[in-house]
């Protein structure tokens, strides 16, 4: 399957997820238990995207800052994100920390 087809399917699927209860349920209330798991999708997915990307190198867990400056830069970015709650500040300090660590280590 080509990338274009995959993107098109994701686009249609995303629209249907957004339309879902607006279109099919209307005024009837949806039980809370049915929606509860969705509350935990964002933190679980975002952590699952970050952790392997910054902790693994060619499939191996590398935690030593000297060998894996990305892990340390991510910890710094996490702290900045926590303090500022700003996407821009997180990107800027994270990239800055990585460049600095790459130059020093």
């Amino acid at each position: 399957m080509s990338a274009a087809v995959a993107i098109l399917i994701i686009g249609i699927g995303t629209y249907l997820l957004r339309f879902s209860l607006i279109g099919f349920v209307g005024e009837r209330a949806v039980p809370e238990w049915a929606l509860l798991p969705l509350r935990y999708v964002p933190p679980a997915v975002f952590a699952a995207l970050v952790a392997p990307a910054v902790l693994l190198q060619q499939g191996d867990l590398v935690l030593a800052p000297g060998a894996n400056p990305r892990a340390l830069a991510t910890v710094i970015a996490l702290a900045v994100a926590w303090r500022t709650r700003s996407v821009a500040a997180t990107i800027v300090t994270g990239m800055g920390a990585l460049w600095l660590l790459q130059a020093v280590l």
């Binding site: 879902s20 209330a29 952790a51």
Partner: protein, 227 residues
């Protein structure tokens, strides 16, 4: 309540959030220009998918050569949170004309949802509600298109040595922190991240989905226990 103010009110309400949206769009564009799927298809995700986190994961996974089914499943898991927004908006949208009920979900985003659901607690007029949502959502849509396009144009000029692909996990770090407000959400994040690392060797890039679903299950469990 004056109706034509609805659209402007929506635009105003969402403007402060553009400080977070625009840099994200710029980075997404830069990464798209840098990726193997190329600038045209990278930009097409802004029109076709119109959801930052899902677009970023899609571009990253396609660039890594992941199986199409895995790319689709991952993007839809990320998008599944919209069902929650859809449920909360449904009672309000049920008062809208049919065209609006079909068209407006396309521009439903985290930010448009957030500002609208807060305003909907203060107003009752369906026409005002519709214009408010439309104003907020279209402002975000236009800003996103401009930001990602600008990123794509700029991104083509930047050198490889900047390690700009590191901006992908950084965006997700920021989104992660913004979505953790409670202990069960913290548990979902820790378990999701840990299992994704452990499951990374799984074939077809399935480790990500295994991690994400484990995190969701852990979050629900923690919610039950901690309540």
């Amino acid at each position: 309540m004056q109706l034509r103010e609805g659209f402007v009110d929506g635009t105003k309400a969402v403007s402060p959030l553009l400080i977070g949206v625009v840099p994200f769009g710029l980075v997404l564009g830069i990464i798209a220009a840098d990726s193997s799927i190329g600038p045209a298809l990278g930009y097409a995700t802004s029109i076709i998918i119109f959801g930052g986190a899902a677009q970023l994961a899609t571009i990253q996974l396609l660039d890594e050569g992941a199986l199409a089914a895995v790319v689709i499943a991952t993007a839809l898991v990320i998008g599944s949170r919209h069902v929650m927004y859809s449920a909360a908006l449904a009672p309000h949208f049920s008062e809208f004309p049919r065209w609006a009920r079909y068209a407006l979900p396309y521009v439903l985003t985290d930010q448009a949802f957030a500002v609208s659901i807060v305003r909907y607690q203060e107003v009752t007029d369906p026409a005002y509600k519709r214009r408010f949502f439309t104003g907020a959502a279209l402002t975000l849509w236009g800003s996103w298109q401009l930001a990602t396009l600008t990123g794509i144009v700029v991104g083509g000029q930047l050198p490889q040595s900047l390690s700009l692909e590191f901006a992908i996990p950084l965006v997700f770090v920021a989104l992660l922190v913004l979505t953790v407000h409670s202990r069960p959400e913290f548990v979902a994040a820790i378990v999701g991240g840990a299992i994704a690392v452990i499951a990374a060797p799984a074939p077809y890039g399935l480790g990500l989905i295994i991690g994400a679903l484990s995190g969701v299950a852990a979050g629900v469990l923690a919610h039950r226990i901690m309540r």
